[in-house]
Subunit: 426 residues, 2 copies
Amino acid sequence: MRVELITIGNELTSGEVVDTNAAFMAEALSEAGLEVPFITTIGDEALNIEDSLRRAGERAEVVIVSGGLGPTQDDITTSSAAKALELQLVLNRQVLENLKKRFAERGMEMPVSNEKQAFFPQQAEIIPNPMGTACGFIVRRRGRIFIFLPGVPRELKVLMGEKVIPFLEKERKEKIAVRSCTLKVFGFTESAIADLLKDVKPGDFSASLAYLPRFPENHVKIIVRGRAAEEAEEKLRRLASLIREKLQGRVIAVDRETLEEIVGQLLRAGGATLAVAESCTGGLVAHRLTRIPGSSDYFERSVVVYSNAAKVQMLGVPKELIDRNGAVSAEVAEKMAEGVRRVSNATLGLGITGIAGPTGGSVEKPVGTVFIALASPKGTVSRRYQFMGDRDQIKTISAYTAIDWVRRYFLNLLSAFSSRPSAKTD
Amino acid sequence: MRVELITIGNELTSGEVVDTNAAFMAEALSEAGLEVPFITTIGDEALNIEDSLRRAGERAEVVIVSGGLGPTQDDITTSSAAKALELQLVLNRQVLENLKKRFAERGMEMPVSNEKQAFFPQQAEIIPNPMGTACGFIVRRRGRIFIFLPGVPRELKVLMGEKVIPFLEKERKEKIAVRSCTLKVFGFTESAIADLLKDVKPGDFSASLAYLPRFPENHVKIIVRGRAAEEAEEKLRRLASLIREKLQGRVIAVDRETLEEIVGQLLRAGGATLAVAESCTGGLVAHRLTRIPGSSDYFERSVVVYSNAAKVQMLGVPKELIDRNGAVSAEVAEKMAEGVRRVSNATLGLGITGIAGPTGGSVEKPVGTVFIALASPKGTVSRRYQFMGDRDQIKTISAYTAIDWVRRYFLNLLSAFSSRPSAKTD
């Protein structure tokens, strides 16, 4: 079944807003096994809307349109659709009542301009919108299906997921079940992942794999098609488990999960707390960890010790050590981790020091040199990294690596603890 | 002059990648005063590319195409263009030489697959690409102009700005000069801005204004059209200055400048240093400030004191004060700011404490309650805010507000210092 998308709005054709709706809809459709050959974006201009609807209807069985359902004068999608499809606009009394009630509940009278949001092409099937005043609707015409959705991304996403995809799965004649999942990989390049998975035959699982770079992660998306839902789910489970095994613990999260959520769960489950001493990441480790609601249960503190004075004063890093090895060194990273662990009484202490650039690099320690250390009840370990990229990228990948160390610590994946002779124990 | 855009790539029609190229090109064109009525997005499929090129050529004088110029098998834009425009593909020896040299400089032999990147429709004008192997090109055919650009966003942006826009400005028959600038406003809602600017008549300056919400900023974009460049520039200068005045110091930055850059410049110019004590922002203030290269010159440290113990221990906030007023209070914010200033010997100390949610709120201090304090040589001031939004939004707007306090301090815009009786002096 071919589906075309039309996204409408002057803010899109002027480039003021990036069209995330088109990508969201295309992804949801492709995950459901539906093909999207064309996406057309136009401004709020009646003739262009009519023209696009007609052309899309010539090519595709389903046309999904977003945007232009609001109450203002420039919202003309519904009237243009009625014209293009040669249907009358009729008032839907139920929708009008609901709109009035919606305003009344907020102690307001409905503005006259909202009345037009209760008019739809005749025989349209209404898609109620619990989040806003613009209902979506579905029109069948000349063997084609036209679906109209509001342009507010939050509203579009819910209506797309809860109404449109299930609707299209019913409409599809060929009954197939499509199931997908995204494995989020950190610490392997795309080509390294491809290499590790070279013996995996997705065809054996009626599956296809897509590699999606999502800096600093690389995602492996698995899409399985089966005749029945159970069959597809079982194949997806088996293939995902095989790929996870091949990727040696580098799958940090699945689907909507984030690394920070996983690390939070591990800290909570272990009854552990975490304190951080950051230099080159400049607060990004703390920021990422504290984005998670409830993180105050396990995140104790971070000290962003940009100056050497702060490293000495707040963490007890010996000044001589900085003078001798430089602030960017394994020894200082270890002392930072141990220092913040000691002063905070946290279970784990993370230390990060490095050169984010663009200046400050040397031959021995070029921009991107970063030392990460973890102080734990098992002892302290550190490692040198050489990251690539601009300042933002080096900050991001450093913070990510440091946070991932906590995950690897709890999952016994931190090889340093077993192999590194210099690891000290409490 | 009507311009249509065609963006090509399976990653776009599958929704794996959000089409930022289309928005970037549309914005650059609209800033140059060129209208973009249609944007079409298609996968790497020959028939769809040919069809889209033909249709766009029927409607617009200029068609800009991006994507599909790479060396791999699925990059078929050039050959499809030749077919649609009924032109032969011919080898450009100069481009081939350059490609080979490019690889040789990296000590590699050019793979055979790259050879196709030296073939172009006959009489194409080459747009050299210093950043990659895919050159752009321009073809004139039947009174229309077709421009082809690589899909890598970084490369597209440079070629668009340096080659395509100047080229189109020359081609345009109607000689107009278009100049624009974006005023970034923080601390006023869109409707408050509109209200403050209600007496400003953009028409008097041959200008139009656009309001663009860019959370947590609101942008006011001014576009001026004149017959001559000087005239347009003069009008733009006068209108921008008038708007800045009406917005009472809330224009935090212009065009590509960021708030953090401006604050960095002010700290540097004042020979001042900054230290930060963060609670609810969780490191975001430090992260934002340290994104700026060279920020270590003025950013001394941040302590992310998530726990009360850390507030007491690292900043000397009296435990009784926390017990009496709560960790989220004006008094604690002030002690945090003063404490971090004292221990760091920085010129300025910022303190932020609040409730980012979703839990932790109360009737007296609901989610979004945030206290910000600044300790300075002039004394300490604090203020209570009530922010709206989810956890991420409250973190962002809190961090932004705190950083903006530093700007306002240096520009003598921090009213608290003049009006607040409780301000203490060193």
